[in-house]
Amino acid sequence: MRRIAIQTEDFDASAELAALEGLGGGGVASFTGIVRGEGGLAALELEHYPAMTLLQVERIVDDAMARWPLLGLSVIHRVGRLEPGARIVFVGAASRHRAAALESCAFLIDWLKSNAPFWKKEHFADGATRWVEARPEDEAKARGWTR
């Protein structure tokens, strides 16, 4: 099973988990990213490159399926305006091996941060806006998976 979705709507993490749990693998790991509301943040605006996003996420998912013995992967990334507390991203993996499930989630989230065409703009309560800058440590983490 592989499921990839790029959407503006919220998602139901429990439905994703239930689908992964039903694959008979013995272990399901997940990571959910949430908008933090620090520093007067009113909302995050997520922009993406539609023609490229699915293509790139499919490549990342194929990579993960080739690296680990996985029974299923689910990747959901939201776009548009998201307020503090909102879910941004979900990655879930099912495997016979707990380490494979957890490591592939770490891989997917690191890779999404540095290799999928999403950009975040912060909107503050006072009306100011700022494009989030890429963090060198995120690129380093993604490179760390290269082998």
């Binding site: 490159y49 490229m52 941060k113 540095s114 999403f118 950009w119 800058e133 890429a134 690129e139």
Partner: protein, 86 residues
């Protein structure tokens, strides 16, 4: 010769104030960096967005590439800052 579609994202898009545009295809052998320099020379928002190539990343026909890549017969070139998803 077919035109080249340029697409812009994030603050590159905002500074140029265009989502996309079609331009005359650069000379054979021209790299993305060559085209960025030519576009920045237009001044205004182009200079603001594209004046410092070290802040830019690119995708050619929806694949990430380095700025020294030759544009060749690609149909779409995207210019944007480093990605910040996840």
């Amino acid at each position: 010769m077919a035109a080249l579609t340029l697409v812009y994202f994030a603050w590159v898009r905002e500074a140029i104030d265009l989502d996309e545009e079609r331009i005359e295809r650069p000379a054979p052998g021209a790299t993305i960096a060559d085209l960025i320099a030519a576009l920045a020379a237009r001044g205004g928002g182009y200079a603001e967005a594209l004046g410092d190539p070290s802040r830019l990343r690119a995708a050619l026909d929806q694949h990430f590439v380095a700025l020294d890549e030759v544009i060749g017969d690609a149909r779409e070139l995207a210019l944007f800052p480093p990605v910040t998803g996840g």
